[in-house]
């Protein structure tokens, strides 16, 4: 075996930590994109779809369902807006706020002493 099961588990945990760091940075960028999407610019909405697609997929793999779920919702919503050509900005903001709260909570849990093994 070139990778042991223990090594794999340790590496998945390491990737999970890296994921949280990344989404904590990306949510700032995502907020700026959602602000820009108020203009109805579909190119911006496509960027939101791509970014939330990654958050959604990796989040599910790494057991961050609380992040993956609103990210997936924003991804699907963005796809629908691109298809219809109509952007419902208030709905996007609502989901973004839930996503932000989920990321903040996950980061707080990671740094909280009670969350450590």
């Amino acid at each position: 075996m070139s990778t042991s099961r223990d090594e794999l588990q340790a590496k998945v945990a390491m990737i999970a930590g890296r994921y949280l760091d990344r989404v904590a940075r990306e949510i700032v960028q995502l907020k700026a994109l959602v602000d820009s999407a108020a203009s109805g610019d579909l190119a911006v909405v496509r960027e939101i779809e791509a970014m939330t697609h990654r958050m959604h997929g990796s989040g599910a793999m790494l057991h961050f369902e609380e992040i993956s779920s609103p990210a997936g919702e924003l991804e699907r919503m963005s796809g629908d807006f691109v298809s219809s050509g109509q952007v419902d900005h208030p709905r996007m903001v609502q989901v973004l706020q839930r996503l932000q709260a989920a990321i903040d909570q996950a980061c707080a849990n990671r740094t909280s002493p009670s969350a450590r093994p």
Partner: protein
């Protein structure tokens, strides 16, 4: 086909975290070499350079998605016989049926258990 015939897998996904997990998960099998590509376009280039035994293909990717990549493979004589397994969060029965109708050998649902991925892949391989 049997398990011994599977030597090299190409995993295609635009998400770097998942590429890394799959590479490590399949690395549990020391006889298996795993290459990765971050897009359908790069996957086709990689396959033309060296033909893998099996391709694991994400469905939703920017620029060229999984089904389009498979379509391109099937239209390319030297790549058309390579078996493809789709890996996707869209694994409802009607979606699985659609992927199978496109020529996928199987569909593995995301999220998957990294500890079980290699066994899952081999079980599909053995049925080809």
């Amino acid at each position: 086909m049997n398990r011994d015939g599977l030597r090299e897998v190409l995993y295609v996904d635009d998400e770097p975290d998942i590429r890394e997990i799959v590479q490590m998960a399949l690395g549990l099998v020391d006889t298996l070499a795993v290459r990765t590509a971050d897009s359908g376009i790069h996957a086709l280039e990689s396959m033309r350079e060296r033909k893998p035994d099996l391709v694991l293909l994400d469905v939703m990717m920017p620029n060229m998605d999984g089904p389009t990549t498979l379509q391109q493979m099937r239209a390319t004589p030297e790549l058309q016989s390579i078996p493809v397994i789709f890996m996707t969060a869209k694994a409802m029965p009607q979606e699985v049926a659609r992927f199978r109708s496109l020529g996928a050998a199987a569909v593995i649902a995301k999220p998957f258990d990294p500890m079980l991925l290699a066994e899952h892949v081999f079980s599909v391989w053995e049925q080809l």
